[in-house]
């Protein structure tokens, strides 16, 4: 079977993703993981892993540098990448929400200022409801923006909600539930059909065993 390159999102998702892949028979030796190498092979030699920033996973997959990728749905919604998403992996569960100081009304004719790391998702979400918003793209610590007066509300990812509470914010709306997805390059899906189908099958078996109930909602 042809060799597959799999892009894995670094950070939040990485450990869980590697654990899931290992259970599906794609394991990386601990020496490899301990090293700082960003491209490593699995023990069978049939897979190569590359570790990249979450937002870059769809980029590597869409360009065919990686055949497959493991990345959160939140990232896919923002990237609008043209990739196949045949499998929900049930790990890395979180929510994409609108959050605001509790006393802030979000309706009316006023133009809302929204700080976010997800400008496209934000524009789509408010656009669908006919609201005009000024989007303020930030690259981190978005929760502090309303407190400092930069924005009226934020669109961000929430796992436990603790950061929001600590910064005086409450969830106003849930835009989307998100878990990790297996994504696949369109050409690889055809040209490496056998290897890709095998990967999907063995991963879906593991996911089914874990009895992962998908409870995502469509934005």
């Amino acid at each position: 079977m042809q060799k597959l390159t799999i892009a894995v999102a670094k950070g939040r998702l990485q450990t869980e993703a590697l654990d899931l892949l290992a259970r599906a028979g794609l394991s990386v030796s601990s020496e490899m993981l301990a090293s700082r190498r960003l491209a490593v092979e699995d023990e069978s030699g049939r897979f190569r892993f590359i570790f990249v920033k979450p937002g870059d996973v769809p980029v590597y997959v869409e360009h065919g540098i990686a055949d497959c990728g493991v990345v959160g749905r939140d990232v896919l919604l923002e990237s609008e990448a043209d990739v196949l998403q045949p499998l929900t992996l049930g790990i890395g569960r979180c929510r994409m929400v609108v959050a605001a100081p509790s006393d802030m009304p979000l309706s009316g004719y006023r133009v809302l200022r929204v700080a976010t790391k997800y400008p496209r998702v934000t524009a789509r979400h408010f656009g669908l409801r006919g609201l005009s918003v000024e989007i303020i793209p930030l690259s981190g610590s978005v929760e502090v923006a309303p407190l400092l007066g930069l924005a009226d509300c934020i669109v961000d990812l929430v796992e436990t909600g603790r950061t929001l509470r600590d910064n005086g914010l409450v969830i106003v709306e849930v835009i989307a539930e998100s878990t990790a997805r297996l994504v696949i390059n369109r050409a690889s899906y055809q040209l490496k059909a056998e290897a890709v189908a095998h990967l999907i099958d063995s991963l879906s078996e593991i996911v089914a065993q874990g009895d992962v109930i998908s409870s995502e909602t469509t934005p």
Binding site: G64, I65, T88, A187, Q190, L191
Partner: protein, 372 residues
């Protein structure tokens, strides 16, 4: 603020030397195959009425064109595809010709918005063919045979895969339910990105019957050879889809009997452009390209917008993407060899003698380089 003059617009590029030569050779090989199957070359206007493309490609595709206005205020566009112009020509200037009509082309097309992050070019060269006036599966097979000969002749014989589908299968299930245009397209996108999880949720929300939900989510994973058709038959109960499955079945039998089954695959989840195609659809993938390098199918509604509905089938290849692949792949192509490009240095202090010598060598077919 003035821009530096060195800049060239996003999505455009230069072709030079070996790349430019390769691109020209690819075009020649492709066009000679078309000629070999009796397709006549046609060139459509580079600048045309925007409404042509709106009718020919559908609004969602046409709006990607560069647009500007004519002196009388009518909206013009730089040609974003060639097929629209060919379809109009077929029912106007070729109205009295015998059918079927076989036409081919190679020309640059322009798109203000690129298709995806990978297909970044805003100017690209399309080459393709149209077979107009026949609705048989033999006509479908003819264009597939032409496409496969082109790939073979380019030296990609072991490096390509053509996926085939019939959009009637999906339409048969989808039209079961009354969905508005936006929801229909959302559903199509979910199937097209093989997103079974979100599709399942969408179908439940829109009140699809359990057997249709099951059929549609399974459709996203149905690909392979003949066994795919058998699996689909067990899953899909409605008459419209069955009819499309039968069409695909007879096409697959031809593919098998021509020993092409290795290079072809059935992919029932390919529903990229439902508003456009009416029967067969296919995508061409080659090793070394991250996205498809060609696609085609049957569009029996195409010429209706220009006055007369005629069955039509055809395909288009991205000549620039093919060139990039051929330059990068280590295969024995039929392209001219670079090693054969030697030149004869001509030197003489007397200009008359210099040019006499050069012209003599040119007459002998040599490639000359004058020392200045």
């Amino acid at each position: 603020m003035s821009e530096p003059l060195s800049k060239i617009p996003n999505g455009t590029r230069y072709y030079f030397a070996r790349e430019a030569r390769t691109r020209r050779s690819v075009e020649q090989i492709v066009m000679s195959v078309f000629d070999g199957w009796s397709y006549e070359e046609i060139t459509t206007p580079t600048v045309d009425y925007y409404s042509l493309f709106e009718h020919g490609m559908g609004r969602s595709q046409a709006h990607r064109a560069f647009r500007f206005t004519d002196t009388d205020g009518r909206l013009l566009a730089l040609r974003p595809d060639v097929t629209s112009g060919v379809a109009r020509a077929a029912v106007t200037i070729f109205a009295d010709r015998d059918r079927p009509l076989r036409l081919c082309y190679a020309a640059p097309v322009f798109r203000q918005q690129p298709q995806s992050h990978v297909e970044w070019r805003r100017e690209s060269t399309q080459t393709g063919c149209e077979l107009i006036g026949s609705n048989t599966s033999v006509a479908d097979m003819e264009v597939l045979a032409v496409a496969s000969e082109i790939l073979q002749n380019l030296g990609l014989g072991h490096n390509y895969q053509i996926t085939v589908n019939d959009v009637g299968i999906f339409k048969g299930i989808a039209t079961h339910q009354s969905l508005d245009e936006v929801s229909r397209d959302e559903m199509r996108q979910l199937v097209d990105s093989r997103n079974a999880a979100d599709l399942e949720r969408f179908l439940a929300q829109h009140g699809f019957a359990p057997e249709d939900r099951c059929a549609l989510t399974q459709l996203t994973r149905l690909s392979g050879k003949r066994e795919t058709l058998e699996r689909a038959r067990r899953l899909i109960p409605n008459a419209g889809s069955r009819e499309a499955l039968d069409r695909l079945d007879s096409l697959w039998s031809m593919i098998e009997s021509l020993d092409l089954a290795d290079r072809f695959e059935i992919d029932l989840g390919d529903v990229a452009r439902l508003d456009y195609y009416t029967g067969l659809t296919f995508n061409i993938y080659v090793n070394g390209a991250a996205a498809r390098i060609g696609n085609g199918g049957r569009y029996d509604g195409l010429t209706a917008a220009f006055g007369k509905a005629e069955p039509a089938v055809g395909f288009v290849l991205d000549l620039d993407a093919l060139t990039t692949v051929l330059l990068g792949l280590d295969v024995d192509t039929r392209l001219p060899k670079e090693s054969e490009r030697q030149m004869a240095l001509v030197t003489n202090s007397d200009p008359t003698l210099l040019f006499c010598e050069a012209r003599k060598k040119r007459a002998e077919g040599e490639r000359v380089l004058i020392k200045l």
